[in-house]
Symmetry: C2
Subunit: 487 residues, 2 copies
Amino acid sequence: MLRLGPLAAAGRLLPAGPRLEPPRPAGGRVSFLRCWPPRLPGPVGDGRPLSQQVRAAADSAGGGGGRGLALKTPKGTRDHPPAHVALRDHLLAAVVACFKRHGAAAIDTPVLELRVPFARYLAMNKITNMKRYHVAKVYRRDSPATTRGRYREFYQCDFDIAGQCDPMIPDAECLKIVHEILSDLQLGDFLIKVNDRRILNGVFAICGVPESKFITTCSTVDKLDKVPWEEVKSEMVEEKGLSPEAADYIGEYVQLHGGLDLVERLLQDPKLSQNKLAKEGLGDMKLLFEYLTLFGITGQISFDLSLARGLDYYTGVIFEAVLLQQENDHVEEPVSVGSVAGGGRYDGLVGMFDPKGRKVPCVGVSIGIERIFSILEQRVKASGEKVRTTETQVLVATPQKHLLAARLKLISELWDAGIKAEMLYKKDPKLLKQLQYCEDTGIPLAAIVGEQELTDGVVKLRDVARREEVDIPREKLVDEIRRRLEP
Amino acid sequence: MLRLGPLAAAGRLLPAGPRLEPPRPAGGRVSFLRCWPPRLPGPVGDGRPLSQQVRAAADSAGGGGGRGLALKTPKGTRDHPPAHVALRDHLLAAVVACFKRHGAAAIDTPVLELRVPFARYLAMNKITNMKRYHVAKVYRRDSPATTRGRYREFYQCDFDIAGQCDPMIPDAECLKIVHEILSDLQLGDFLIKVNDRRILNGVFAICGVPESKFITTCSTVDKLDKVPWEEVKSEMVEEKGLSPEAADYIGEYVQLHGGLDLVERLLQDPKLSQNKLAKEGLGDMKLLFEYLTLFGITGQISFDLSLARGLDYYTGVIFEAVLLQQENDHVEEPVSVGSVAGGGRYDGLVGMFDPKGRKVPCVGVSIGIERIFSILEQRVKASGEKVRTTETQVLVATPQKHLLAARLKLISELWDAGIKAEMLYKKDPKLLKQLQYCEDTGIPLAAIVGEQELTDGVVKLRDVARREEVDIPREKLVDEIRRRLEP
């Protein structure tokens, strides 16, 4: 039975498969603007006793005899059974551990929100300096595409650094965080693409795109990771109204990707280096690479001029992490691979909420926990292993009848000592049934008290996997269990 | 600075203060039936760039120049700043640890739900056996009374055992769980009141209450912990239409409370012991006390015939835990004391959802985490201590200029070793400012690298509280930090 330690990396190589969904916005919790409110039919909770309400609902649903309720979850949502929650909690714990490792405090804002909660929170509380994370369920309104793993209810994990900082220090930390989380989760090879809005805007400017078309051109460029250049170009020309020459000129730049060498090359580019914004962006990109070198993570970083990201509020560095599907993947269905984290700098957003327009520079990252969950879930499925859904360490068992009191007394001692323990809820369960329960649910130890053990003042401690038993003096039992369960 | 270890018990005694709110239903997640849906004005997310939407919202809100948004959270909701979340996470962790200690698996059901999610989940998935917990935010629709700590968005923590069991074994475990959680959280003295719906119904029957009035009489009896008997009696007679004699007769029973002795006495009661339901209930109550004695927790258990609990779906044992406000409380404002956990047996609910009416007996408990939070929050406030909102263990600092690279390299090493570390986001911060940051935020250690330390291959490790510094060889730094931070 699989215990949720770090999940084994697959270590394989294949061309990237289709994406599950477009990259979600990150670096700020914006989803509400697209998604709320969910609506449920009619008034509920009319003051009648609950059982009457249930019966009434059943009857109006066409069922007879107080039954026949349509048993399903609301549209676009699903239940999460224990195996789901165990895996998801494991993921969330790794993400939160990383956020805490970087000194972030947690905040929580109401799930009902008409705006970008973090920006509103900072402006409302006049906070000019904060490193925070927020892990919570959020909701989106778009038509659910549950077959593609897209639900109306999902988790969002955000980390943001707000405040006046020296250039690129917090930006570099955000990339380090992405690197740590993807490494910790052992998701296999990944690449973090980095770009800067100022560089993109500089490219657009020197290619003759009017400023009013920067944002829309940006969203066209962002498609380059999914469709070939020719399609992107034709969208630019036919839909966005750029000249073919301007589009070709843009194409020369946005198809570039590399490392520090490319940054240096573009800093020497006669036209681009004359553009103030682009020069600033390239200078900061150089600094970023310097810091990432000190962090030892440049091997997974690609300066990619095609990265544009959808949201218009980014003002500086932007980034997005993708998993690289690897060869020899022996999963049954191809795992959809795509963006699993993203974010960037947004220096203007908080100021929009502030009555006096005071700016609070921010940089943030959002971890695509739902997509990572889908990937890990497929891997677990492919491995054929069962996920343990409980953490029970010991089953308290009895081999004869009339020993319920002995079980209750012993299990109470174990609980009070902090040991995770269960027993069957039967007065006189068969020993075989009790041991079978251990094997079915992955409980590693059984503490057995029979008449003989009670007389001798011992407990028989059974290693379930090895089927070995040894008598332990009662007063040493807790220590012995702890010793055996040490990692 | 307060670290969130177990919070100190107050250990004081005062008459119970006013309640924050009536006890919430427990042993099933029913809140949705009373509370959904929240509604937000108008359509949001119209496809325009986010910044334009924000500006448009600001303008329509009467602000000028793209600003002036009404900066508030939606009605009945609030933000949770880091100190809130740190305290709440500490509480939730203790609750979840207890649920896991008892072998429960976690499930998660959609927040949008028209019915009792756990019962629906069991019926829909044809599950006849499950021990599960569910910790999640839920919503209620009633007019918010935020000044009394009653919000539209709040956490609910449920634990339930579903399945055919021998009598009172899982029921006793639910009470043990309440006892463990309230003890672990060191909330001071508490009492767990226990009763059984069958005993109450038996009392009503022998007192001449028609069966159709059992539920409504139940909810009148439930007020006995807040108002004197005379008021309860007059409600029974004037509003519920019982005869004064029946009411008086009921009064003789429902004002009784005690321990196993009272159970034994009622088992001898000539009339009550003739009622089949009451006899069953009393027999099981005796068994329950036997098991609770083995658990060693009868000191905090009171068999209280006035306990009725509001929900009509309970079919057997019911219980509710109250904190006892104690004398010498030196808190500034009186802490509202009341029900902090409750639950009971509901053997009929799942069957209402099952198309064939198959019953799944259940017993469950709900922990009133929001009320416990309010109590602890007041205590923390009264103590004047600050709650640490981050877990940072080490600040990486430099004493001279031009050492940013050294800080970045060192902090990266610490992060990679799993140490929680921060640094200031400035190129050349003053040492004093860095050390001040440690004191302000409760960071216990500072790792200082200056020119001399770099030359010597050491790091100066500073104990912030003691203001002591010692040079540690670089390669031993991680071990030394771990050693110092051992509990």
